[in-house]
Amino acid sequence: MPEEYENKGAGRPLVELTHVEKHYGDLHVLKDINLQVSKGEVVVVVGPSGSGKSTMCRTINRLETIDSGDIRIDGKPLPQEGKALAELRAEVGMVFQSFNLFANKTILENVTLAPIKVRHMDKKKAEDLAMELLARVGVDSQAQKMPAQLSGGQQQRVAIARALAMQPKVMLFDEPTSALDPEMVNEVLDVMTELAHEGMTMICVTHEMGFARRVADRIVFMADGHILEQATPAQFFEHPQTDRARDFLSKILTH
């Protein structure tokens, strides 16, 4: 099929949103969203609350459905439901604002569950992989504890390890530090920074402007359901093009 030829071409976007629209009842939350993310690219999505950033992030693994438009991961359109969708989700890692570690499982079980159940990995192998990832995010000493026994920062690092255990092609971060106490924000951002330097493709919704400036390859600015600007951090923070972005930046960067 000619389409597959096209998909195998080099430099094609890993994540591609085309003319995506979504409504919540009367509220038009996503308006003609077009976004392409290449392999290895770190895209940070910023914008005021209620601008549709999180919703857009969640449409990429179909935790939110869309009304119209097209979303492709690695050239393949998002499946509707069922097994094909589960397979796709296994390739897309997601980190949530509220961590969402499985409350009835230990830290180790949280990380091994999906590799064992979805990838049918051998239990011993899954545990070795999990311990390696937990060591990487610095919480291997907590492996036998329950999630509620860990601090927020530790829980979020476990959540990152849990997503990485599936060896995803792309990682989605939906405001990963917004629910954390201030002193725990950096430990999570450090893990994300390291991940970015290792070449992981990342889409991060965040309010951490320092992280955005340092780590992002590209800033996507959203307001009222539109993508208003896409630029390098230097361009965006020094020379925002729209009044809306200037207004946003003036409010968050003055102190």
Partner: protein, 225 residues
């Protein structure tokens, strides 16, 4: 004046309590099985199953138990000719079990559903985001947490069932406690308060441990978040 000792030797009070406990155990088993089926139907993605289970729960939850029990005898047995046994007592016993079980299943379903509602949506989202399917998510993540969250309401349902088992008198089960109490009062009108206290205290003794056990389990099993 009849003494407590006289009353207890003349009447089989313990035997009457045993009948209520049997009614509770069998009706409880029926209600548990039916309740689990109903709650799975209620959360299933198929809307017709949800509607049927929802209709069942609303119907039985809002109907007086006495009416169900009388219907079991006058409707199911006398009119529809469905019976469990040729032995009258055995037949009425199982009709009462069925009526109690059908009624209590609605409350078991609601108790389990309240447990499912204690599981935050994010738990299912995280499981789905990792590629787990609907049944894997339910089995591994949602139901284990939901069950722990339903211990207290299930205990309350069990307590209500034990007390409701006295309504079996309306289904002509003559050997259970409330029937025996009426009989005793009829022949020992001088000892109404004593007779009343015997049965009241008997139920309190049975029910207090159930409450204590469910409170203990509910705290011990609670999901820490």
């Amino acid at each position: 004046m009849s003494s407590i000792h006289e009353l207890l030797t003349q009447y089989d009070v313990l035997g009457a309590f045993a009948v209520n406990i049997e009614l509770t155990v069998f009706a409880g088993l029926l209600a548990t099985v039916l309740g689990i089926i109903l709650v799975i139907m209620r959360i299933s993605p198929i809307s017709s199953l949800r509607a049927v289970a929802g209709g069942y729960v609303e119907l039985f939850k809002n109907m007086p138990l006495t009416i169900i029990m009388v219907f079991m005898v006058l409707g199911v047995y006398a009119q529809l000719k469905l019976s469990f046994s040729d032995n009258f007592d055995v037949n009425f016993f199982w009709l009462a079990v069925t009526g109690l079980g059908l009624y209590t299943a609605a409350f078991v379903c609601e108790a389990l559903r309240s447990g499912i509602n204690t599981v935050p949506l994010g738990q299912a989202e995280a499981a789905r985001a990792l590629g787990l399917g609907f049944t894997q998510t339910a089995r591994q993540i949602i139901l284990p947490q939901a069950f722990r969250g339903s211990v207290a309401p299930l205990g309350n349902t069990l307590i209500a069932l034990l007390k409701n088992s006295t309504v079996a008198a309306a289904a002509s089960v003559a050997t259970e406690t409330s029937s025996l109490m009426s009989e005793m009062i009829e022949f020992h009108a001088d000892a109404i308060v004593t007779i009343f206290l015997i049965f009241a205290i008997g139920y309190v003794i049975l029910i207090i441990p159930i409450g204590m056990i469910t409170t203990y389990l509910s705290n011990k099993l609670a999901v820490r978040r």
